[in-house]
Amino acid sequence: MNLSNHIPILIVAIPLLAAFLVPLIGRINKKATGTLTTLALSVSLILTITLAVKILTVGPQAYVFGATSPSLTLPSGLKFPIRIMFQIDAMGIFMGLITAVVSFVGAVYSLVFMKQHSGLDKYYSLLLLLTVGMFGMEFTGDMFNFFVFLEIASIASVALISFRGIDLGEPAEAGFKYMVVSSISALMVLFAVGIFYGQYDILNFAAIASVIKYSQLDKIALGLLIPVLAMKAGAVPMHMWTPDAYSEAPAPITMMLVATSQASLYALFRVVFSLYNISLNALTVGWIIIIFGLLSMFIGVTMAIIQKDIKRLMAYHAVSQTGYMFLGVGVGLAVLANPVALNQYGITAMEGGIFHIMNHAMYKGLLFLTAGALFFRTGTKNLDKMGGLAHSMKYTTIFFIIGAAAIAGLPPFNGFASKLLIYESVYKFNPLLSIIAMVVSILTLASFVKVFHSAFLGPKLPQFKEVKEVPRSMVFAMAVLSCIIIFFGLFPDLIVKNLVHPAVMSLIEQLQYTGTVLGGM
């Protein structure tokens, strides 16, 4: 047995194992919990990268629990055993990379950031569980398992959001809101699972995809899944939970929540592309998604401009940025049935949308971390109370500038690379879309200049005289993200060609996905 065949399970298992170990270790040495978590996640990260290399060179991987090879265990005919099965293609590993990086950085950042809190063992094990949940959602090839991992992630998130204190009103309220949202979505997902199982007796994505008839019931299932997953991804008009949740969670967790939302987004795309693909009315659904996107973009950014709380502001920007992903992918979907248009611009649009997912995770993560750094030193999230911090927090300032430039899509940062792909393609579909996207981008820029001004510029305030730069591990965490942002921004071609394009193709070419599992049927 080749160990490398087991990488998929190891990626998930190691954090899971660590999640159980952390409380135990915590009894002996509080400090070790963080170290252990970081260690576990760094192993995960390395493994994910290894797996990514393999997938991108060899092709999609399927991993069936308890069997040596997926193809052996697959019975012919359409009956599938209910068993846990990972099915990882270029898209899945693309998301996996994001999760791995974000959770690793989050853990490193937490080392000092969370130091003064009690209950660190619980914190770390929840953080690990959240990671596990995300990996699971991205890797699983099975509807029911998806539901299970979604629940794991949700529960861990709720607990983490309210971690700052169940007795503090706001975190508890935010946690509660998230819980309600999660429960509703879980329920709906379960419904949809039921519909599929009832119709086809199977739960495997690939298998369902190969037989899907697009019946009335399928439409209902789609009707359940799209809004619910969009809600978890924080799209307007179901975004009301994001500002609360994002702003109340500790900064590293907020960063991971962004990744979790994107995992839901991934699931949405997966359902639409891999499950239904051209069987559905691509143009209509595409437009629905585009409209989600436009609304999110515009409302998100206008709401953001008026915010006072730095993290709420960033949360609204997260909503707005999600819109870009919807826009790119939506346009791709809308022309899915039209090969000429697809080739001309559909694929580019999707590349933009998908690439933006990763970029967004990086820069928004970085921004939330800088917000955390400000909070760490000043004890406030209110922009009106900050000021002049560039005098004392030079690194944080630089990281903030990088993050802000990236989110505003300024060259040469990664946000520009993905937004450019979107602009350059969607205008061919409809020129107005590009115009709106570009204007939103400028509004984003303006909003961040304002934040930069209120928080960092101006005279040194007397109450922040003692403030100094954040500790080194936090700087390191932010530096990692900054490097990624700049690297992606400088060499977008490299990333697009090797990572994004395969991911997009794996979404578009339904057969490739199903084929991995079904053996080229």
């Binding site: 001309q344 002049g388 560039a390 005098h391 030079k394 300032t397 899509g409 300024l410 060259p411 520009f416 450019l420 602009y423 350059e424 205008y427 061919k428 020129p431 107005l432 590009s434 115009i435 570009m438 204007v439 400028i442 509004l443 820029l445 303006a446 200049v449 304002k450 930069f452 001004h453 960092f456 510029l457 101006g458 005279p459 040194k460 400088l490 060499f491 977008p492 071609d493």
Partner: protein
């Protein structure tokens, strides 16, 4: 961004330096012409044309005062950023029939973004100086930036869209491509009107981009004592001045490239180096004409608008003109 040979890189670096130098020189020269023309229209003799150069050299020897409230590295960095970004745009612009030095993916979008950078540099610098005037100025600059972006983007996207309909296989957002295919030849009568509207839109955006009267609310000398730039002195002020000069060149050549990319050499039956020179000269003349209409004349023939009026002007009338232009161009294509 793709790998190129070492020699190629070297050429590009040298080219970049040359272009930066030329851009600055031409920018200052045009600024001088602009001041001279404005003076003549106001019945004055006006400064000599090389005045901007002397201003620049003078500023370079002046003391550079960093206000107490400012964060020095941001305060000093802002003008550099403004200048570098404006120069970078130059590298993407074609001159006559000489293709741009850098080109590739979506230059024009890049240019739109880069155009915001000098403004951002000024805003950051204004905020960084910590004076109330600079603060109000910077806020106004931001409002302006948000306002003129919609019409600007509309004009550019509309042109690109039209081209993409005619030449689907080309990289439309490359300026070299746009430059080689004048819009006027591609459109029917409806589209022609549309294109004129788009030109008007761009012409209206230009003074805003360059913070010139009537859209100079951020620097409003009589209200804000120079607004954003109140606290700047010496070298930093000189750099902002250069950035402004270069930006003028950029906006002018952008207008020329988008709307008047015609060359003159084939009409004169020239070839080789002469054709090159003729075209470059012709290009400069076109730039001059555009500048005269869009900047020199407008800036002395109107009163300064208030910031809410500016914002309204861009969001409503100018944007509507732009969108109308877009609509006409789309209609033109669909009907034919």
């Amino acid at each position: 961004m793709t790998s190129i040979s070492l020699f190629g890189i070297l050429i590009k670096i040298i080219g970049a330096i040359v272009i930066a130098f030329l851009g600055v020189v031409i920018g200052l020269f045009y600024k001088g012409i602009d001041r001279k023309l404005a003076a003549r229209m106001q019945a004055r003799v006006g400064p000599p044309i090389r005045q901007p150069f002397m201003d620049f050299f003078k500023l370079m020897i002046k003391e550079n005062i960093v206000p107490q409230n400012a964060v020095p590295w941001i305060f000093n960095g802002a003008p550099i950023m403004a200048l570098v970004s404006s120069i970078t745009i130059l590298l993407y612009l074609p001159v006559g029939n000489i293709p741009p030095l850098l080109s590739g993916y979506g230059d024009i979008v890049l240019i739109i973004y880069l155009l915001t950078l000098p403004a951002i540099g000024m805003v950051v610098g204004g905020f960084a100086s910590g004076s109330p005037y600079a603060n109000v100025g910077a806020q106004r600059e931001m409002v302006m930036m948000m306002s003129y972006e919609l019409p600007l983007v509309t004009a550019v996207v509309a042109l690109g869209w039209k081209l993409s309909q005619v030449y689907p296989q080309l990289n439309i957002f490359s300026l070299a491509v746009i430059n080689a295919r004048p819009i006027w030849g591609l459109v029917g009568p409806l589209g022609f009107i549309g294109a004129i509207l788009l030109f008007i839109t761009l012409a209206a955006v230009t003074p805003g981009e360059l913070s010139k009267v009537p859209f100079d609310a951020p620097e409003a000398e009589t209200e804000l004592a120079g607004g954003i730039l109140v606290e700047y002195s010496g070298r930093n002020l000189a750099l902002f001045g250069l950035a402004d000069a270069v930006k003028t060149v950029v906006m002018m050549s952008l207008t020329v490239a988008l709307f008047f990319p015609y060359n003159i050499s084939h009409l004169l039956a020239l070839s080789g180096v002469f054709a090159l020179i003729a075209d470059v000269l012709f290009f400069l003349v076109k730039m001059f004409l555009v500048m005269f209409v869009e900047v020199s004349f407008v800036r002395i023939a109107f009163a300064r608008l208030k910031i809410d009026q500016v914002s309204f002007a861009y969001w409503v009338p100018v944007a509507i003109i732009g969108l109308l232009g877009l609509m006409l161009i789309v209609l033109d294509t669909i009907i034919v």
